[in-house]
């Protein structure tokens, strides 16, 4: 299979403009004759559905939550990047492009990243016009703050709830169209299969989560904005419902899955407190501006932090990275925390956390200043742990946060299946092997508001599709597949709950395909996962029926897909014999213990093709070329 990225060539500054000019347009009067199905209602899906409807298309939008406003984009805290250069501090579209390519450890497409940086300007304008209450200066102008991986202030924010406010902006635009009847919203509806006719994506099979009814929906194109798959690890900062089912079932129908092993681990999360733990909560990385990270010098030290004198503490980030100190990038901070815990020097009941200490900052600046800067985060920490970070250090540990991998798409955001578009975190295209802070919101909205609505018209205008109904063999087959999965889950009638399997799978993934990976561990995981999957299908216990609200059944279907995805992630991690960004292979590191890339052999996107249950997937490579930002080793010493 030849992977054609359709990336334009020539001067990078004008690639998107020239490409857009060459796209075919759909006449305004004809747009209403086309139907587009949008799955997912987060920043990407919600903004796409609203914009497509504004343009005049018929849109159906689907989400599994009770309202499109619940999508997990809502939980993003920090902000959204845009190269406005409002601060005259040397920012530019080119610099945002440069930072993003470098931050992604040279594993993203230059064309896509430049377009993203360029569109960042329009996003802020659009969101302001919608009434998103961004933080303001006293003059009434927009305020900015700085964020990791950048030396300029380009992050726009709405308190600690930027994701919420941007999502509500998109949600309101979407509801506006729902009110006009141009979008039909289907909440509590989960996509369970993709309908592919003559090689083209033509519809989806869904399950109504309240009645259990399996339904078919047809359209001229299908758009997946269904988010990332971090919940394969069971514990992550994702919402409980986040899942891989939509993109995985599209993968099973032929869509390639790219770079599945690229996962981001966030260093500052509240640590696990017990076996009952259901999710992990992120604390903004801005805390590392004033907090000092340390563990006791000796392992097994059970004294309280205040009893440990200064000379028996190891401020390991400051010691190892004197110039960046506590502000090293996410991947470096995470790996070092894991290292000291593996040495037996971790703190807390489980030994799986490190201190983030504000004592010195409070002494230097006073508690009121710290409260003003981080008050809401301290309160949140206190609410969850019952501990007071003003008087004792916080305890933090890394957690799975974001997945850079996803379905392969070309420059038009179309997968290798014609008519199937993939946007936001669900695709693989813009962040390479590591995403910079405040860039996820930017990409979701760029795809949904500005890229997809432009590119989809080219496909619709170029193809005349036959009418489709339930009698088509491909449709019948997809419906039968969905009903069969439900039946098998309900009939297994075993002894173990879905969650118990999910936890066990998550532990395998965290141990062998988490922060640090090696050949031996990955091979072990590739033995254990299929065995556990087999046991799952034999002995999972799902009560009730398929004709009612059945939350166990919903979860079971998602976990079944996580099993298959987990295997592909390990395979991809094993195949990539280098370290880059979030993918750290212990065998491939510099003498100082940093990630060692192998540009000669691995400068490509790995796109995997599904071959059937239990069969090895086939790898296709999309070579990456860098005309503007030249690959270099990252160093933070």
């Amino acid at each position: 299979m030849e992977l054609n990225s359709k990336c334009p060539t020539g001067a990078i500054e004008t690639r998107w403009d020239r490409h857009r000019f060459n796209l075919k347009l759909v006449n305004p009067a004809n747009k209403r004759k086309y139907t587009v199905l949008v799955v997912g209602s987060g920043l990407a899906g919600g903004s796409a559905a609203a914009t497509l409807a504004e343009l005049g298309y018929n849109v159906h939008c689907f989400c599994f939550q009770d309202s499109p406003r619940r999508a997990h984009s809502i939980a993003a805290q920090g902000g959204i990047n845009a190269a406005k250069n409002y601060h005259n501090d040397g920012d530019s579209v080119y610099r945002l492009f440069y930072d993003t390519v470098k931050g992604g450890d040279f594993r993203a497409r230059e064309s896509n990243v430049y377009r993203l940086a360029n569109i960042s300007l329009n996003i802020i304008d659009q969101c302001v016009a919608q009434g998103v209450p961004f933080a303001r200066e006293y003059s009434g102008y927009l305020d900015n703050r700085s964020f990791g991986g950048a030396q300029v202030s380009r992050t726009f924010y709405a308190r600690g709830q930027t994701g919420q406010q941007l999502l509500l902006g998109a949600y309101q635009a979407l509801e506006h169209q729902v009110g006009k009847g141009t979008v039909q919203m289907h909440a509590r509806t989960e996509m369970l299969d993709l309908i592919v006719v003559d090689g083209r994506a033509r519809g989806i099979v869904s399950r109504n989560l309240i009645t259990g009814k399996v339904e078919t929906w047809f359209g001229d194109a299908v758009v997946l904005g269904t988010g990332g798959y971090g919940n394969v690890f069971f514990l992550s900062t994702n919402a409980k419902g986040c899942n891989t089912t939509a993109i995985w079932r599209a993968h099973r129908r032929g869509a390639l899955f790219a770079n599945p092993c690229f996962t981001q681990i966030h260093p500052t999360c509240i640590p696990v407190s017990g076996d009952y733990q259901s999710k992990l909560t992120l604390m903004s990385e801005s805390l590392r501006n004033d907090g000092r990270v340390w563990v006791p010098l000796k392992g097994g030290d059970k004294r309280t932090p205040s009893q440990i004198p200064e000379n028996e503490r190891d401020y390991f980030l400051e010691r190892k990275y004197p110039s960046f100190g506590n502000l090293v990038p996410r991947d470096v901070a995470s790996r070092n925390a894991k290292m000291v815990c593996d040495e037996g020097r971790g703190v807390g009941e489980t030994g799986l956390s490190v201190y983030l200490d504000f004592r010195d900052a409070i002494q230097r600046l006073g508690a009121p200043v710290i409260k003003e800067r981080y008050g809401n985060l301290f309160d949140m920490y206190n609410r969850i742990t019952g501990e007071d970070p003003y008087n004792e250090p916080m305890r933090i540990y890394p957690a799975i946060h974001y997945t850079m991998g996803g379905l392969w798409v070309d420059y038009n955001l179309m997968s290798n299946l014609p008519g199937l578009y993939v946007i936001g975190e669900a695709n693989f295209s813009d962040h390479g092997a590591n995403r910079l802070g405040a860039s996820a919101l930017m990409q979701g909205l760029a795809d949904g508001y500005f890229v997809l609505p432009n590119t989809i018209g080219d496909y619709l205008a170029s193809n005349k599709l036959d009418k489709l109904d339930d009698s088509h063999t491909a449709v019948k087959q997809a419906v039968a597949n969905v009903q069969d999965i439900t039946k098998r889950l309900l009939n297994a009638n075993g002894k173990r709950t879905v969650d118990s399997f999910h936890r066990e799978l998550g532990k395998i993934m965290w141990d062998y395909c988490g922060m640090a990976r090696n050949e031996q561990g990955l091979k072990k995981a590739l033995n254990e996962i299929p065995a556990l999957r087999e046991e799952f299908w034999k002995s999972v216990k799902v009560l009730g029926s398929g004709e009612e609200l059945n939350q166990s059944l919903e979860k079971a279907g998602r976990v079944a897909d996580f099993f298959e995805l987990a295997e592909l992630m390990c395979r991809d991690a094993l195949d990539r014999n280098e370290s880059c960004g979030g993918h750290f292979r212990e065998e491939y590191q510099t003498p100082e213990g940093e990630a060692a890339r192998d540009d000669e052999h691995y400068s490509y996107a790995a796109a995997w093709e599904y071959q059937g249950p239990g069969k090895s997937p086939v790898l296709h490579k999309e070579p990456l070329s860098f005309d503007y930002v030249h690959p270099a080793q990252r160093s933070y010493k």
Partner: protein
Amino acid sequence: MRIVLHVWRQRSASDAGKMVRYEVPNVNHEMSFLEMLDVLNEDLITKGEDPVAFDHDCREGICGMCGCMVNGVAHGPLPGTTLCQLHMRHFKNGDELYLEPWRAKAFPVIKDLVVDRGAFDRIIASGGYVSVSTGSAPDGNAILVPKESSDRAMDAAACIGCGACVAQCPNAAAALFTGAKIAHLGLLPQGQPEREQRAIAMVAQAKQELFGSCTNIGECEAVCPKEIKLEVIARMNKDFIRASLRTR
């Protein structure tokens, strides 16, 4: 510690429903409230009993999906806190807790603690937006917003649409929810052109959804996990009255 739960069990919208008693023997202080329900459900499934259905998603207090009445208080006893952010250290051994779904005509029960809040979406669809099509916006800094307006708009925009205000209100009014959106957009320059039309449409929609009328009791403000102030209802009433007088 041991917690005794009395949980509203209702198989479907048409079922009558009843309270059922459960004991959760090994509750850890560090657990969140929803994690305690997870433990209960794992136990029920293992015993072959139908687990308790409850809505939840982000579990960090921002998506607005979770919530039920705990001993008659929406989201439980801790102020400014969603159910998912309530932890068991605030309870003691032997506590008896009565869990019920949001009760309001406009929020029909779907199953157990799960209700249908689609009415909230329809209120937003009736006018809770600024009509600006993608691509037509001027530069972000072309619209100046005084910091105070922006901060107050943000206070109102913090609403997570969970429905606790309706559940706690003796009239089952949606005034705090509707007022929060009207205040958020009405405080900003971007929201001015449609301000009057918005207030009329959203208030009418809330009425049509069979929410009750506001009689200034204030229970909504007391349980709001985002601590939205009653002031937003005053803003809504002001906008509504002004719009009613001026609309022909």
